[in-house]
């Protein structure tokens, strides 16, 4: 992706994997599309009507038919293999993460809680996007909970989203890349349509170096103790 793209760069190890799979699928898709388009253009030019003769009428070619069934099948099996390997890695929830974040979604805002330190960040009634702060180079477990309808927790820089279904707590974990530190304004989006102000349910992501993150967490804990 070029730097002009509005898409945030990948900031987790999983996102790096996903982007690699994306490349494979994308080039294959473009290849297939180009192949078919070229074939169609060729057929259209080569076999256009030149005279009124009736062309040959053979209507099957078993080896060819087998070939064009088997080749796509083999391609699909390959894509499936890639998918299974990566999806198992992505979907593997880390039971002993460096950090747990408890996310609560509600119409139409977010709350991020760090249970180990009791820190909470709540989006305001104003449309200000709340900020989710994460440490680089650590594993993070997200626990997702909804107070009303279905939402979906999508961080574009993760290349991943997970639906938040009322009545259950869904979870997933990521390994933040060691070079993830930076600001990712509006990289967080509610992806499942959730009613009136669904469009405004965004948040920003800021990734700090682990030491800075610890300091930030202590500072927040103190602030909130003073406030509350």
């Amino acid at each position: 992706m070029t730097s002009r793209s509005p898409l945030a760069p990948p900031i987790t190890d999983q996102a790096d994997d996903i982007d690699r799979v994306w490349d494979v699928f994308l080039y294959l898709a473009l290849g297939v599309l180009a192949f078919v388009v070229v074939l169609v253009v060729y057929v259209v030019i080569r076999f256009r009507r030149r005279d009124d003769r009736l062309p040959q009428q053979k209507h099957y070619n078993i080896p060819l038919e087998i070939a064009y069934t088997v080749v796509p099948f083999v391609l699909v099996v390959g894509l499936f293999a890639i998918t299974v390997v990566t999806v198992n890695a992505i979907d593997d929830t880390d039971t002993d993460p460096d950090l747990t974040v408890h996310v609560t979604a509600f119409q139409w805002q977010w709350e991020f809680e760090y249970p180990e330190s009791g820190v909470r960040i709540i989006g305001g009634a104003d449309t200000d996007a709340p900020e989710l702060v994460l440490p680089a180079d650590s594993s993070v477990l997200f626990e997702l909970e909804s107070l009303d309808v279905i939402h979906s927790f999508w961080i574009t820089a993760f290349r991943f989203k997970r639906d938040i279904i009322p009545g259950t707590v869904t979870e997933f974990s990521v390994d933040m890349s060691d070079d993830a530190a930076g600001e990712y304004p509006n990289a967080g989006v509610c992806a499942e349509y959730c009613g009136l102000d669904h469009a405004l349910m965004r948040f920003s992501v800021r990734v700090l170096e682990p030491a800075e993150f610890d300091a930030w967490l202590v500072e927040q804990a103190n602030d909130q103790e003073v406030a509350g």
């Binding site: 509005p6 009124d52 003769r53 009736l54 099948f73 499936f80 639906d163 279904i165 989006v189």
Partner: protein, 635 residues
Amino acid sequence: MTAVDPTVDPDREAMGGADPDRLVEIDDFLGDPDAHGPRGLPRTIIGWLTTTDHKALGIAYIVTSMVFLGIGGALAGVIRAELAEPGLQLVSVETYNSVFTIHGSVMVYLFAVPFGFGMANYLLPLQIGAPDLAFPRLNAFSYWLYLIGGAVMLLGFVADGGAASFGWFAYPPLSGAAGTPGIGADMWIVSIILTGTSGTLTAVNVIATVTMMRTPGMTLFRMPILTWNMFITSFMVLVAFPVLSGALLMLLADRQFGTHFFDPVDGGSPILWQHLFWFFGHPEVYIVALPFFGVVTEIFPVFSRRPVFGYKGLVLATLAIGALSTSVWAHHMFATGDLVLPFFAATSLLIGVPTGVKIFNWIGTMWDGSLSFEAPMKFAIGFLVTFVAGGVTGIMLASPTLDFHLTDSYFVVAHFHYVMGGTVIFAMFAAIYFWWPKVTGRLLSEKLGTWHFWLLMAGFNVTFFVQHLLGRAGMPRRVPDYRPIENFELWNKISSFGFLILVASMVPFLINVVRSLRSPATVGADPWHANSLEWATFSPPADHNFTWLPPIRSERPVFDLRWINFEGVGAPTSADAWEARHDHDEQWLPLHQWSDEEEQKRTTGPRPIERTSEGQSSDEDRADGDRGDDGEEIT
């Protein structure tokens, strides 16, 4: 079409037996079109209200669904206008949410599926040589149910609180009484139960017609692919629609009668709805698409002057799609994480294989052909290219690895508009241009058709291509507003501009239609030199369709008649009737084609069974249970 003067390849084998010196016009067989009583559509309002004629109802379906296309298109215009700039300009958020919900619902439930049923109505009896569908009154009932259902959905806009606004798949709890109060939402539910019931009844009708009413000689494997696809689609409808209707009734009960099927607060399950809905929803995609696959499979052979390439493979691929499509539903739910991901990834990727097979069947049909590019052929090729573009992004979405990022973004919006636009837009116009002379007895202008095609091609791609980029870059679907980033603004502007081109593309089409309707109806039975039986009757067809039928010895009876001189074979007789019934009784799937040996057997075999006026068989040897195939004579 110019007259054909064939100086043909002498190799008769490769010609499938076609005789280069024989070219007959169907019109020579048919004689005077007006010697058989009135033709065409009802001329009075009472006539329309009371008709049970499959042709009239077919046109009613098609015209009604085109009106819904216009309404859905206008709503799409509201969407694109609002999104041309970030921030809110045109409509309120509430209205926007209703607009995209009703746009999607109108397009899927009231336009795409019913248009297919309209074609099934008009063409299917003609293609199998039948006088009507099996149950004409049921058919009329289906149509009126559909019309009423459609009206109920649109009336939601004037209801208290506005039309439904929970998206076309209505996820609870948002679609529950607390999430979306207001009668508009209930009207949406009722509307879809009505149209769904209408669809189910039509499916029953189609299945009965295909099983019972094929003309003598029309074995299953001689049916045109369009009829095959309608047949398979109807089975899918029977599997999918009742599930949707049931789920909608549950949702209605949750909203109105205090049940808690989908309400998590009282132990209901929102995920259950998603399973039920998508168990309908994915087959639905193929229910929409298969009839249009059928359309282009009729068109490619005619304008290539070749038989369908790999006919049986094509039918098997369609059956495979039908079967697989019932086991892929949860690919719409990957992001819930609450699934066996590899299973649904596997089935979803796998369904790409039979779909790919079809693409090559179509190209194989054109290969070595003699291609001419009248409007139907242009649109059919437009379909092919557009559909492949939608297919390859479908493969991407079938991989949960990628779907996690792409789902519920504009990438998905782009994907399904390529798939749907390819089928229900390009192939639909292909169908209109192709069968227009049959239905109206008039031609459409090729010149205006060319303008229409290229404007549509341009408009379609300008509108939807950039949406892939938007989605991948992080724009979620169902938002009236988006981040004011340079690329988002630019891409959305391009997309909205594309909509203007789409609107422009309708101008030559409408002019074409109006002009044609005002010209005299002079077209003969078979203006394209086509293949299937609907071209063996007048344009428009006679009352009860046929005054004469050619012998049916392959899937191209009209082609055969034009080119092949069958020694001593005439129009179907009672011997053929016996043969067809024999096929039907002996085999649950009559897989064979008639060969010459069987031809012998047929003429020297046992005496054919005569039908009495009650439609009862006089043959005592046959098991009683087999009697059903006589059905009612509908004349």
